[in-house]
């Protein structure tokens, strides 16, 4: 008797549990509380299809989804606010359209203050930030930092000198993206050195740009460089000018400038797309010494092939540190190198672990 009772109890419990388990609502983790995750499992009742509805504040139910799948899940992110309770109803139909099951389920949304999925990102970000800060401070306190030779930059003075000798201008292109790209900013930093050199040697500088914000910044940079070189009189405000925002319209214009002004030295430093090779080949045919630099992996091959000197990827960013030898910049570069060292070490450990069949590190680092 006791046994039968127990069996009955277990049966009931299972039944109840399974009824409960047909529709499960959970708050979506690591979000701002604007989504719920609905999952359903109708293996027990095998319906032809199900409909899930959500209760509105005035008690009506509106359809959220219809599915023919036995189990599934769905993220509901429509008009959901944090810290609210939402009620859902699942209705299951058989293949002649009769209702075979109906039940409700509810859950409360909550917003999180920390995204746990991104913990590996946070650790890596902190490590690199701390390293960069540490090396900046140690450089400032007088520790000397070494920087290896960057081939593309040795030629800068020579190019400017050649332009002066030949009495031809220098062309500088800060890429074709706007000021919100770090490559443009890196290019403009080099422009400052170049403009100063050009002012000292009294060479004409031409800077056509294709973004308005770059225009105003480049103008100011060139002006200050001339002032710093003690030649404010030599500064021509129209040496920095805007052509057009259009990629190929800009290239058509710059090509025209190259064949007509015949600059002795071309500098292409910044972010480039397909225009890279058109500029570099036209520049070559006009006989200029060409220095290019970009972090766009897809355009580097063309610069490497068609230009005399190329700053590859990070070299573009290292250039300003190299040219200025400023302790801040050198320190930051050293910090980046630390980042590379961590990268190589973690990668090696990761590969060894993967080979030994331990996937912990890779899983930890993967951001979903």
């Amino acid at each position: 008797m006791k046994k039968t009772f127990l069996c009955l109890f277990i049966f009931c419990a299972c039944f109840l549990y399974s009824q409960e388990g047909i529709l499960n609502i959970k708050d979506k983790p690591n979000d701002d509380g604007s989504a719920l995750i609905l999952s359903w499992d109708t293996t027990q009742i095998q319906p032809a299809n199900i409909i899930i509805e959500r209760e509105t504040p005035n008690g009506e139910f509106v359809k959220i989804l219809k599915s023919e799948e036995i189990t599934g899940s769905y993220e509901d992110g429509t008009n959901i606010d944090p810290k609210n309770i939402y009620t859902y109803r699942i209705t299951a139909y058989n293949n002649i359209g009769e209702i075979i099951h109906i039940s409700k389920s509810k859950a409360k949304t909550s917003a999180q203050w920390f995204d746990k999925d991104k913990i590996s990102l946070l650790i890596l970000a902190s490590l690199i930030t701390l390293a960069i800060l540490y090396y900046i401070f140690s450089a400032k306190s007088g520790k000397e930092l070494f920087i290896r030779k960057i081939g593309g930059l040795e030629s800068m003075d020579e190019s400017v000198g050649r332009a002066t000798e030949m009495g031809r201008p220098i062309l500088f292109i800060p890429g074709t993206l706007d000021l919100d790209d770090m490559q443009t900013i890196a290019g403009l930093t080099i422009l400052r050195r170049l403009a100063q050199k050009a002012a000292e040697y009294d060479s004409k500088l031409i800077v056509p740009v294709c973004r308005s914000m770059v225009l105003s910044t480049a103008k100011e940079i060139v002006k200050e460089a001339y002032m710093k070189a003690g030649r404010p009189d030599a500064y021509d405000p129209d040496s920095v000018f805007y052509l057009t925002d259009d990629q190929f319209g800009y290239v058509a214009g710059v090509d025209g400038i190259i064949v007509r002004e015949k600059p002795a030295a071309n500098f292409f430093l910044g972010a480039f797309y397909a225009e890279s090779l058109i500029l570099a080949e036209t520049g070559f045919s006009s006989g200029a010494i060409q220095t290019a630099g970009t972090a766009m992996p897809s355009q580097l091959p063309f610069f490497v092939v068609a230009c005399d000197f190329t700053l590859i990827g990070e070299e573009l960013f290292a250039a300003s540190a190299y040219l200025s030898k400023d302790p801040h910049q050198l320190g930051s570069l050293k910090g980046q190198d630390f980042g590379k060292a961590i990268f190589v070490v973690i990668l090696t450990i990761g590969i060894i672990l993967e080979i030994s069949g331990i996937h912990f590190l890779k899983d930890f680092l993967t951001i979903h």
């Binding site: 979000d31 701002d32 509380g33 917003a111 203050w113 920390f114 995204d115 991104k118 990102l121 946070l122 690199i128 960069i132 900046i136 706007d178 919100d180 770090m182 900013i185 890196a186 403009l188 930093t189 973004r211 308005s212 914000m213 225009l215 910044t217 940079i221 002006k223 200050e224 129209d238 000018f241 805007y242 057009t244 925002d245 190929f248 319209g249 290239v251 007509r260 090779l277 058109i278 570099a280 080949e281 070559f284 972090a295 992996p297 063309f302 092939v305 068609a306 590859i312 990827g313 990070e314 573009l316 960013f317 300003s320 801040h328 910049q329 930051s332 570069l333 910090g335 980046q336 990268f343």
Partner: protein, 231 residues
Amino acid sequence: MKRKLPLFITFTVGIILIISEFIPHKPFGQLSGELEIWFLIISGFAILLGQLSLFKVNILKIQFKQRDWQFYIITLLSFITMVTIGFLWGTGKSPGILGHGESISSVMGYKPFDYLFFNVYQHLQATMFSLLAFFIASAAYRAFIGRTLESNLLLIAAVLVMLGNTSLGVFLTSWLPNSLSFLHLPNVSEFIMTYPTTAGQRAIMIGAGLGIIGSSLRIILGIERSYLGGE
């Protein structure tokens, strides 16, 4: 204030955005999206600066009768035409000041702005782009010369991939037996692209990525200030 305040703003905005990446809670989660729309709006206004510079530079060239000054009249005329018809009748489904200009579009087949876009602008753009077919040939001819080990690697990889990428490569090595199929040119090209090329690209991405991270940090901390014009 003219210098310090902008640096302070950059610092604050940058830090808030970094922190907000880790905080899904409102209002942090939506911040970067909203600020990127701000950027679009600001740059929308900034485009006027460019247009005015274009005007000024060209008018000066015409005024002082610089070499080829006649051509700069064409620049100004085409600019003014495009802007005028754009504002008058709009483009695509957006109406202009005078509405959609149905009578004109029924004659021309398009709105005037779109007509110029499709029949002039688009062809200019596509042709300028296609010049690359010629330049890639001339650059290859000039530069792919096996002087050193590095240039040999460059040359060999390029030629193998070029061959493997066309029907020519299939044709040349289709006689190879199955056991040597890895030497079949399309397979060789795919191998080079999948492994060594990916390795090279990855190295560049990682280096450049760290470069960008370093620059961003320097900007946030106010060490890198060239964007404000001065040192």
